[in-house]
């Protein structure tokens, strides 16, 4: 897929050309929004808003990585949503059932080809990570999502966040330290295969 050609066609009014770009990045965008917001509905809204905003501001794209450019829009939309949530704190952080327990099998978590045991492990791990991520400041959270959860490199994350490489490196290390401490609290909840094997002195 020639991104630059699609972008050019989209700028010339080819609506479908932009939608091909959307299809290419929507999973990544939704994953970022879901990890940042921990709310499926808000993640959907933010993802849709970000793509719409990207289409309308396509003229401001000056070349380079379209992926970084569009993910930056998603990130900023997530920041906006988090600030709005702080002003109106009424939304639960994760989907809950009537008993205020996390929904066991939310429809938005779909991993094909996993055995029931593996699915259980995935759910437990996802729950632990999601809770620990929510305890991080949003800037630290974004860095660790890009690099550890989405597998980007430092340079790409720095480009998306518009921060120097050293800042990304430092934030990532701090985020990992906090997540290490947080995940240790979920030690007993994690499946044995996923438990941290290192013995801690504390």
């Amino acid at each position: 897929m020639d991104e630059l050609a699609l972008i050019q066609e989209a700028r010339n009014g080819d609506f479908n050309a932009f939608n091909r770009l959307v299809l290419a990045y929507q999973d990544m965008a939704y994953h970022l929004a879901m990890r940042m917001l921990s709310d499926p509905d808000q993640a959907e809204d933010v993802t849709q808003t970000a793509f719409l905003s990207a289409y309308r501001h396509l003229s401001s794209f000056r070349g380079g990585s379209f992926k970084a450019w569009v993910m930056r829009m998603v990130t900023n939309a997530c920041y906006d949503e988090l600030r709005r949530r702080q002003r109106h704190p009424s939304t639960p952080l994760e989907p809950l059932d009537d008993d205020d327990e996390s929904i066991e099998s939310p429809s938005w978590m779909a991993d094909d080809g996993l055995s029931p045991e593996e699915q259980l492990e995935q759910k437990e791990l996802d729950r632990a990570i999601q809770r620990c991520l929510q305890q991080l400041d949003e800037e630290f959270r974004a860095v660790v999502i890009f690099i550890d959860l989405q597998g980007m490199d430092y340079q790409e994350a720095a480009e998306i966040l518009g921060k120097p490489l050293g800042t990304v490196k430092s934030r990532l290390a701090r985020a990992r330290l906090k997540l290490r401490d947080c995940l240790h609290r979920f030690w007993e909840l994690l499946p044995p295969l996923l438990r941290l094997n290192t013995q801690r002195d504390d």
């Binding site: 879901m34 289409y55 309308r56 429809s107 490196k169 995940l183 941290l196 801690r200």
Partner: protein
């Protein structure tokens, strides 16, 4: 165990795990790990944490987020306009509130002007007229009703009536024990606004009755509303709560004392039994045609003046816009 590790070391570990260190930095770090075996535990913890995070499941989009012509066709500025409308409503509410306060506190915009300053020059004029009245004509002329009203009105306070003031406040020009006379005139008695003194007994200690000077002194400060009743039959029939009536009689007493009043007529209450129904005022009661001069003061001002109506409208607008602003912000 790992408490001696600084954040700098953890930062090196983190970059090391991601392959972000240069070959020289990697050699140095591995040398440090060999010399400090306890560091390896911290590195392993960080490695496992990183591995755990990378095993986290990825979310897939629950639907396609492709755009439709309808979505793009909608004005992108809808949110902007919503934001702008909220700002505009807030600004309008603030402006309406400020306008309301301005109407309230800017005297130039108020219609309640008759309260204060206007009568003041009139008072001076009346006072001047009173001072030019010859002594022998004073009993006949006395103080016109309007003059006393003018003298009392500016103070905007009801005169204080003192009956049988001990020692007398006014005193004749030669009264040794009185406050009044020349001293009163000189001092101007600025702090005794609205004092009306009735003196029942005609003695050397009484007030007023000191001739032209005293009469003039009584009126020299008309704006202060001091009226002396000295050597004057007590106006027992004076209605107790008519401040504009009493001073008119008071002025008559400044000139020539009449016969002293015997009895114990009350000041503001029921007259003595012997004096009940007896007319003792020097002036005949003002005719009905004269009374309207006090009417503007007594007539209650209408509550819904144009300014108040405007204020009410502005307040309503402020509340409306404030409600709109809150609603728009919540909606946005």
């Amino acid at each position: 165990m790992n408490g001696d590790l600084s954040f700098r070391e953890y930062e090196r570990f983190s970059a090391y795990l991601d392959g972000q260190l240069s070959p020289e930095e990697v050699s140095r770090l591995e040398e440090d790990l060999r010399r400090n075996p306890q560091w390896r535990l911290a590195l392993d913890e960080l490695r496992e944490t990183r591995a755990l995070l990378r095993r986290a499941p990825r979310y897939r989009a629950p639907r396609n987020f492709t755009l439709t012509p309808e979505m793009v066709g909608k004005p992108a500025r809808q949110g902007f306009f919503s934001f702008l409308s909220a700002r505009l409503a807030t600004g309008m509410a603030a402006a309406a509130l400020v306008a309301t306060l301005l109407l309230q506190f800017l005297p130039a915009l108020r219609f309640a002007a008759p309260m204060a300053a206007a009568p003041a020059p009139q008072v001076v004029e009346k006072a001047a007229e009173m001072q030019t009245v010859p002594q022998e004509t004073q009993p006949a002329i006395l103080a016109p009703e309007s003059a006393m009203r003018a003298a009392v009105q500016p103070t905007a306070t009801a005169p204080i009536i003192i009956w049988n003031a001990p020692g007398g406040l006014g005193g004749g020009s030669g009264a040794p024990e009185g406050y009044g006379g020349e001293a009163m005139k000189a001092a101007g008695a600025p702090s005794q606004e609205g004092i009306v003194t009735y003196q029942q007994e005609t003695t050397a200690q009484g007030m007023g009755g000191g001739g032209a000077e005293a009469g003039a002194s009584g009126m020299a400060t008309p704006g202060e509303g001091i009226v002396h009743y000295g050597d004057q039959p007590a106006p027992g029939t004076v209605p107790p709560v008519v401040p504009t009536e009493a001073p008119s009689r008071a002025l008559t007493s400044e000139a020539t004392p009449a016969e002293p009043v015997e009895g114990n007529g009350p000041i503001l209450g029921v007259p003595a039994s012997g004096e009940a129904g007896q007319v003792i005022a020097a002036l005949p009661a003002p005719e009905e045609s004269e009374r309207p001069s006090a009417a503007p003061l007594e007539a209650p001002a209408p509550f819904w003046t144009p300014v108040r109506v405007a204020q009410a409208v502005l307040l309503g607008m402020a509340a409306l816009f404030a409600g709109m602003a809150v609603w728009l912000r919540r909606k946005g």
